[in-house]
Amino acid sequence: MNAAEQEIQNAVREAFSALEAATTTQQIKEIEQAFLGKNGQIVQFAKRMGALPKEERPAFGAAVNGAKQEVQGRLDARAATILEAELARQFEEEAIDVTMPGRRTRRGNSHILHQTTLRIKQVLSGLGFVYEEGPELEEFRYNFDALNYPPDHPAMDDQDTFYVSDDQVLRTQCTGLQGRVFEKTAPPLRVFTVGRTFRNEAVDRTHNHTFHQVDCFMVDEGVSMADLKGTLGAFARAMFGPEVTVRFRPDFFPFVEPGVDYAISSPKLFGGRWVELGGAGLIHPNILERYGIDTERYSGFAFGLGVERIPMMAYGVDDLRNFLENDLRFLDQFQRQPIRGLA
């Protein structure tokens, strides 16, 4: 080993011991600079090459390169060890108590009647019905005359009405939309609405002067009571679960003939008993004829139900007044849960 090579060996040893003593990534960087940097000790050896005899140059070059590689290798290994230790220290220092409460910005919640309405809109849209709305302050003729109410008939006693004037009432049912639609649209048509209705009656746990209704109707060729039952079945199963069955019971509403009350039942819900949901039937031919629809060619069905009934049944809400009172302690309990029965 010549002196130059000895010198290289010394530099390598010096670098090794410096690396041995290093404890931080910063020190490693300094060592790298001092030995392997542009002016580092080992790199400097290469500059001597020109002064050497030609035949010594390859061996010397190999020695310098070997030293470089040796130092670089040791340095990388040492750096990795130190980095790992440093990270471990950092992680330990930065550890948090994950059981502390989260930090959130404010959250809003949608009203349970709105959640229910959105679900109804999804289901009836899927069955091919188009959403429409009519006014809450309705003309008498759409609310009663157009729905085949005979003048001054006891059927009107069933619906204590708020009169704003002789010809304006707060609608007692959303069915008044039918006349408005038939005026503008020829069959075939499928329409539904969800809206607010009013009855001038005493308020208690199960009665309110204001509540919400779904009204859904269609007119086409060959529409039958079986189509009505099938549509109600599909609707009820989408709202309350796949086991639901539908039952018709005869009932009287001036705007349908035949008229029925429909109830649903499911072994998984309401103890398996029949629960009445609303009124339905084939649209009364007097109504279709009033709007120039040929009843020999066309028939239609209509059904309605109370929106509040759905969460009352699904969640056991026992006071109708809660819905429009808006106590957030009530409303916030409905955190966008699906209506029961939906997976």
């Binding site: 404010r106 809003g108 849209s125 069955l127 009169y163 009013f198 005869p250 008229g259 819905f323 429009l324």
Partner: protein, 672 residues
């Protein structure tokens, strides 16, 4: 209507229990509401539909049971009732003079009965009435009630000694007086239908008898009235007089005019069984407007198509016969003659319902409509409304749904209100003309502070119904946490950002304009909300006096926007902008400027001066204090600029900034 199981069993031989009969009636359209047990015997409470007056009797319900259930058979009493008790034969007496002077009375029959005593009823009759909750009065009154219950025909017994020799059915004359047997004196008006003797009204036709001519303990001779009146006239008269009786309830719905005399015969038969010495004479029966025999033809193919289940001619014939209709079969068609007790049936579809009802709706299968399919869905303004409320919820507002009917509030809008003319309470006297008043009540209900609420709903002014969106925000913007023990408070600017963002979520850009003068708000903290220059809403801090009055914490901020104008717009275009990939430069400026200069003015000038190269501008600081003259403030504004086709040099950026600042000199703004 309460009806005892035992009374039904006098008309129907059946092995069905009370519960089973109740279910059967329910499925025929006569809904069982409950079964009570009175003195150990079941009593059914049946809800009779308002178009089915024929169901308001044991006889009528028995007919439905017999049509629905093949295993039940009619009793002898049922057969005799169906034959109008023609087997009860009575001697003819001296004719009683009856005159009908109105088309509202289609039939009137007066039966004279003499040599009666009006004491307590026999046990069976007392019991029959007590079972259904009626108080026995005396045998003559109790028998009228019992026969009405059995056959559905209201009867009235006059004391013949207190009544003149004539009965006149006529409209009242204005000012005539009648005290009804409930003790109320009525002053009558023309058009009200009365039973009169030769000189005065003695009863309200189809509603209630008069006190003067009432039967009493000493009554020995009676005139038994059985009649038929037009339902609309009875309804009008009883409503005007404020009366509502079992009799009027039936007449309003429908009573069989062919059953008038058979009810009197049944009364006579029962009375003679109790008091064999009574003398009953054949009634004087006037029937000027007899029920006509209407016939409707029914196409069974059509019926089956409408019902979605097929019913054979034989089945149809059986059902109609059981219900008392007469039929003639003509191939696939039936000619159906309607019985007088079914005025609810006027066209083919009504017969279709009868078929379906008796055949059983449980037989109808479920199918889905197979006709023309249309594209279902929630579109246009309705979809936009749903998205708006969803955006408000996402922004941290709890959705509420308030009543339309309200009382009066200092937060009512200025527009004229309308309301029902028959409100049951002052709290329901008006339809809301804005959402804010109801929102304030809800905010108060929820504590009046730290609440953030949103509502979309209808509002009403004279002649107009609109949809509004309203936000109310107050107190802490979020719950306190470790990072901010005192969270930032809601203020004008937090709500301003939210309302603009919520509308941006549906692609609608709103603007604010100063100069609002709404007395509901703090005079210095309110603005008009505008869309394309048109005012469509208001935002502001609720006037502290009003907030205090309504139990709201100070600094309650609200915004209310009408959606009408927005809905009236067509679908907006969304012009996509290209975006540059070169780096942006930022220049901050600190301006000393009078507080009287609106920020919008400064912002507008900066934007106009720099033009499209200005990518973003924001206010990062508002400073008042040391070194700032009174009435002025220092505004720190950041300008971020970017070129579409290259990088800015420092010099270029500075030039743009300086030119922009120069535009502010006119506003008296100087660089600090």
């Amino acid at each position: 209507m309460k009806i005892s199981y035992s009374l039904l069993k006098t008309l129907v031989n059946t092995s069905l229990t009370a519960e089973a009969l109740g279910d059967l009636l329910t499925m025929a359209g006569f809904e069982l509401e409950e079964i009570e047990t009175v003195n150990g015997a079941p009593v059914l409470d049946i809800k009779v539909m308002s178009n089915r007056g024929d169901g308001l009797s044991a006889f009528g319900l028995a007919r439905e049971i017999l049509a629905k259930d093949g295993s039940s058979t009619p009793t002898d009493l049922y057969r005799r009732a169906a034959a109008h008790f023609a087997d009860v034969s009575l001697p003819a007496g001296a004719a009683f003079e009856v005159r009908i002077e109105t088309p509202s009375c289609s039939r009137f029959s007066a039966m004279r009965i003499e040599n009666v005593t009006n004491g307590p009823s026999p046990d069976w009759l007392n019991e029959a009435l007590l079972q259904i909750g009626q108080r026995p009065i005396s045998v003559l009154v109790d028998l009228t009630n019992y026969v009405m219950l059995e056959l559905g025909q209201p009867l009235h017994a006059f004391d013949a000694d207190r009544l003149g020799d004539t009965i006149v059915v006529r409209e009242a004359r204005d000012g005539e007086k009648l005290t009804t047997l409930n003790g109320t004196e009525h002053t009558l008006a023309a058009g009200q239908l009365m039973i009169c003797d030769a000189v005065r009204p003695v009863g309200v036709a189809g509603v209630m008898g008069g006190l003067d001519t009432e039967v009493h303990e000493g009554t020995h001779r009676i005139v038994l009235e059985s009649a038929h009146f037009l339902n609309r006239t009875v309804r009008k008269t009883r409503k005007q007089l404020g009366l509502n009786t079992e009799a009027s309830y039936r007449f309003e719905r429908s009573v069989d005019s062919n059953g008038v005399v058979s009810a009197q015969r049944r009364f006579a038969e029962l009375l003679l069984a109790i008091q064999p010495s009574a003398q009953v004479f054949e009634a004087t029966d006037l029937y000027p407007l007899p029920a006509s025999d209407l016939s409707i033809s029914l196409r069974l193919i059509r019926a089956s198509r409408l019902l979605g289940m097929s019913i054979s001619v034989e089945e149809a014939a059986r059902y109609f016969t059981a219900l008392g209709f007469s039929i003639q079969i003509e191939g696939e068609q039936l000619a159906v003659t309607l019985p007088s007790w079914r005025p609810d049936i006027v066209r083919e579809e009504d017969l279709v319902e009868e078929l379906g009802r008796i055949h059983g709706y449980e037989q109808i299968p479920e199918t889905l409509p197979s006709g023309t399919s249309v594209l279902g869905g929630v579109w246009g303004r309705y979809a936009a409304t749903d998205r708006l409320i969803e955006a408000a919820i996402s922004a941290g507002y709890s959705q509420v749904i308030n009543h339309s009917l309200q009382g009066t509030s200092p937060l009512d809008a200025a527009a004229e209100r309308v309301g029902p003319r028959n409100p049951s309470s002052p709290d329901l006297a008006f339809l809301r003309n804005g959402l804010l008043s109801g929102m304030a009540v809800t905010a108060r209900l929820n504590g009046g502070r730290d609440v953030h609420l949103a509502e979309v709903g209808r509002v009403f002014t004279a002649g107009k119904e609109s949809v509004h969106l309203c936000l109310v925000s107050n107190g802490d913007l979020h719950v306190p946490d470790r990072a901010s023990e005192t969270p930032p408070k809601a203020d004008f600017f937090s709500l301003k950002a939210d309302i603009l963002d919520i509308f941006l979520a549906v692609g609608i850009e709103l603007d604010l304009a100063a100069g609002s003068r709404d007395p509901r708000f703090h005079p210095g903290r309110q603005a008009r909300l505008t869309r394309n220059g048109q005012e469509i809403g208001v935002i502001g801090e609720i006037h502290p006096t009003v907030a205090n009055e309504l139990g709201l914490a100070p600094r309650t901020i609200a915004a209310e926007v009408s959606l009408d104008a927005i809905f009236a717009e067509g679908d907006a275009e969304l012009p996509l902008k290209s975006f540059a990939r070169f780096p942006a430069v930022r220049r901050d400026i600190a301006l000393l400027v009078s507080k009287a200069v609106p920020f919008a003015e400064i912002e507008g000038r900066l934007r106009r001066s720099i033009g499209p190269l200005l990518e973003r501008l924001w206010l990062f600081d508002v400073f008042v204090g040391t070194g700032i003259p009174a009435g002025s403030h220092s505004l720190g504004i950041a300008l971020v600029m970017r070129k579409p086709d290259g990088s800015f040099t420092d010099e270029e950026a500075n030039q743009l900034r300086d030119a922009a600042v120069a535009e502010l000199a006119e506003l008296g703004a100087t660089m600090r």
